[in-house]
Chain length 366, copies 4
């Protein structure tokens, strides 16, 4: 069934394969009046583009976005915004070999089981290139959220077992680290491990953390469309993510009520919480604190070491995956997590506008 | 907006508050022909009922389910199944005090912010009693999945910092442990800690693990309606859940590709994987292995210790929450996780029936 | 699949069969703060209740509604409102005969084909009693719309071939006519024909017209969620409706552009249209004029005349349907059309709140 | 909010404006294994293309479709199919005048009210060109339905007040008539009237009829997702449609039960109905007969006669719309109705696959 549309009233619909004509997205439900152009979107796409550092595949892909609809005189019109990035460097010959077997950790086998066959070129629809559409749509969401004083930003919290030290981290550092780690010492150590893993033809995983600040309280729809539930879905839908947590996350499991409860406090007439183990969400509704979530990213499954697997004929074989692949997905996925979180938060912010008759009246009393 | 409906074609819509007339659920999209009666549903509800052990609140609530529609001559008719559990022991007087302040870790503040006021009796809609509807609907899903050879079961993996040892665990043990821990030694140790925490007027958290076995490969709809994405949403929508992971989960973050990749192997013509770090899902699609997921459950926020908070007038105050509350939510939440996982898997199983024209033709060639 | 939920963010989910425990509805997404009680709902239900006049079945059904959740201290809380009408006069024996054959004009055959069997008592889920849930939910919608100055009302435009004369019709007359016709002379003439048809053991059809006044311009979401498209679905989903039209409706087919175009005119700074052939909707968006729609209602299919049909064994047979049935459905369906129109308009009104960033800002600038 | 996606599991998402880069559609949920290429789609697009006859605007638009994704080795892969028709002849200067006023019968005013401003070039998103996406997506649906023995075809039933005589009509004639009327005599008479209206700078309306044959019984989901309800929405969402009816349609209003009921009859073991006033749908579910629906199409609102209207400054003015416009929309809209009906039927056919456990088992017993 259709599974390429995300969101209820701010929606993105993505399309495209790694080696088809291009990767695209239709953003529908974007409110009218946002100043938008290709440069604004490109800025985000550049952060997921390959070839930026030695830790990402050196394939040169320009990944230039074109806006095809939904903008008039520099502003969104409220109608669908179609965006496309044409594929430039499809070299189908590189991928012909993988047509015949199932790469461990990839979706080759499950696509074949589900659909009967698959576009095997570069992973087809299951390629990481699919996230281009997410990032372009998320960029629109982030730009809108800014208009409401809401900021969304993400970074690498841990890479290859090296975690940042919060006391040494700063938001400014994020862009200084090739790994998008806000603690530059941790970044250096992680780089060393990555160098070693590259020599061993191996790959590494990590954790991405995302913060949404400036959130008004009251966003999220109990009991199934809770803000955390939709964030979990949004982030878990990104390839390579195997876990999602909010606030203290899995840490709550060996915590106690007296530690984990966040005391409410009033400071100069402003409601806040002493701690933020809840990660800004109580009962599935934003509480006005920063929303904090984390995603666990698995190591790149494409490694050059010899691996055992099965071919389409059902025979046990050994393979060595050719070509250069990212030894780590985490840095390039940072902006993808940001995009999915932003799209979710915007959609739910909009949905929260109908919670109360008194506030709705304010809206309609023009 | 409406947030009380879950699922696309197998849907549950829940309603009810802790101290209203009752808690109910409408299950819509249930295929016709399933033998169903109240006993089958009650079996599941009994597992979440309070008063079963000394680790759950001693309030006596019968929680007897009534089926009101959708069954004829003992079988589902394909029309909506309405089920209700009437509230018996609403003592609104117990809760009048909490009307005026915001309990830490609860949704009191966020409901007030969102809706302008709240039904404060027993937590109203944000009460754990809301999960009765989920369990009743999930029970229907589990019964249908059995018809297709799919089993769903869950248990406490960790409680109050005590984790099970897989080598000592067995599925039979689950029901022998008052904490639903399949390793009885771990269960004993966890009980000891809970006893201590109860004396300290404190509460504890834990981890629930859920296994879905017998899954056919090919279920899950890239790129947003992936099986793992929907499971994450389903489980994160349960109150008190702060994290969800699939397979190796957060463990992938400090693992390497050579360790984390699951090698495919052919055994006597049957495809399988040597390991199951993927937790049965590759590219968002079931791969035929067991699906394994875990949920982190926070400690019960209602504790009798003195806590600081803010009242509706915006004053900093100190409170002590009266009444007996579960020192741990985990055991009673086990069947809730099971229910939400089952509803998700059934919905996605149904949706996967339209993936291929050749298989669809088989269906329509009557 | 699930088909018993209507609406996107103001949702109703109905359940129940003619001869089960009752008929119910869960209204979800109702904004908090509306004063609501059972009397308000009952007023609408009484208009569709049988036994009101000699043109409706004399079965006595009290059809008293109970609100089970979602209200606290007399106001909606923003959480699901469950409402139920328990069935009182189920006499299953009356219906045992129809179990074995397919009544012409009824859904007996299609239910059997779809689900393999059916609850044949009184039509089961396909009974007109199903509309109780719609009316109860629609009543909530109408009450909310009133808060925004929007009124929804319907009446019988034509019955048994007698159409009202607009120059003789007034809104006050509607409730004076046993057929809910606003032209009392037409009502008398229609009554005469109905009397005759009843003697002939026959039944009649008609047309219901619904007006929505006070609509702001700008409601409706091109290109598929247009206001008229959703109204058409809402109304066509009512049993017995075979056609829906907006404004001039089918009359446009032999009209010309110079006649059918509604000229815009400015009167004292207020935008309006000279005529309203558009029925208040242009390009799928409300234009600020009254919305006018009509539904064609078929004659009651249950008639006492001898009819030919087929039984479950596949044999051609002749039947005479026992029991008293409404000789005309139209009057009782008036409030159902009103309910469905109101639910649709409210849902779309809410959805229109995110069309523009500048207006959204007004909402969030608290 | 997002309104450019249609369908539940077979979905189309359209984008594009009359004078933007192009018009496109993403078809998601298309099952894998259908042989598909651009020629197959183009065949349908050619039927809505302008410049075919003297009754459509002579603007030359090639409207050539490109498939950008979702096809591999000539077959659908089960992933989104993106299709685009680039705009060739956008001459924005032609439309600069209409920026300042509201054309009667058009969506200029409602777009301005809803979004604050509009892309006025050629009607922007509200242009008839928007239907290109619908036709391309509908073509995919029609091709899939063929695989299941289901045919969808439409034609002009009435034009400018001239209706076809069923006894003189044949399916073969449809393509012989420049107006797609299956009764060629009626077609000639309608042409004469159109000629006259063109001289008078006026335009005409009509009725399109659509037949779906080969439908299995059992498709449609009570009580809101009925087959007729979704068809009504689908067709009413097409610009210029002001009414939809099924089977006898508005004719039921002055019919009687004894006339309108369709008797079931068994012929050589095959169930059928003596008449088809129901239009193939009973209780919202297909009954195995042909599905028959009709749509009322309003006269083209763009006419060259002097018209009164209001400009953006709120002044009453007189206008004459420049440029050549279709004197009649009906013939070009025939394939659009066909497309929307097909997309609806396919979606609902897929959804009907989960109605019964016994049939589902057949599917999963591979």
């Amino acid at each position: 069934m259709a599974g390429s549309t995300f969101g209820k009233i701010f929606q993105m619909t993505t399309w495209g394969e790694s080696h088809g004509q291009g990767i695209g997205v239709v953003v529908d439900g974007c409110p009218a009046g946002l100043e938008l152009n290709e440069e604004k979107i490109q800025k985000y796409l550049n952060r997921r583009k390959p070839g930026q550092t030695r830790y990402s595949t050196p394939r040169k892909e320009d990944d230039l976005v074109e806006i095809q609809s939904g903008i008039f005189e520099g502003k969104t019109t409220g109608t669908p915004i179609s965006m496309v990035v044409y594929n430039k460097t499809q070299r189908s010959k590189d991928y012909s070999e993988i047509a015949g077997y199932y790469r461990p950790g990839h979706a080759d086998y499950t696509f074949d089981e589900k659909y009967g066959f698959r576009d095997y070129r570069g992973g087809g629809r299951s390629s990481g290139r699919e996230t281009i559409g997410r990032v372009a749509a998320g960029a629109v969401a982030i730009e809108i959220l800014k208009e409401f004083g809401i900021e969304v930003y993400a970074y690498s919290r841990a890479i290859a077992g090296v975690e940042i030290d919060d006391t040494k981290a700063s938001r400014e550092n994020i862009m200084k680290s090739p790994l998008y780690m806000p603690d530059l010492e941790a970044s250096d150590r992680a780089e060393e491990i990555l160098e070693k893993k590259m020599l061993e033809k191996d790959s590494a995983g990590g954790i991405i953390e995302c913060v949404i600040s400036g959130m008004p309280a009251g966003v999220g729809e109990p009991v199934f469309e809770k803000l955390d539930a939709n964030l979990a879905k949004a982030v878990m839908s990104i390839g390579a993510v195997k876990g999602v947590e909010i606030g203290a996350g899995f840490g709550v499991a060996d915590s106690f009520g007296s530690q984990n409860n966040d005391a409410f406090v009033m400071n100069d007439g402003v409601m806040s919480k002493k701690t933020n183990n809840a990660g800004g969400i109580l009962g599935g509704i934003s509480d006005g604190s920063d929303i904090v979530l984390r995603a666990a990213i698995k190591p790149t499954p494409s490694i050059a070491q010899t691996q055992r697997t099965v071919n389409r004929e059902g025979e046990n074989i050994e393979i060595e995956i050719k070509g250069r692949h990212d030894p780590i997905i985490v840095p390039r996925a940072v902006v993808v997590v940001e995009a999915m979180a932003a799209a979710t938060v915007l959609d739910m912010l909009m949905l929260s506008m109908t919670s109360r008759i008194d506030l709705m009246k304010k809206f309609f009393d023009k």
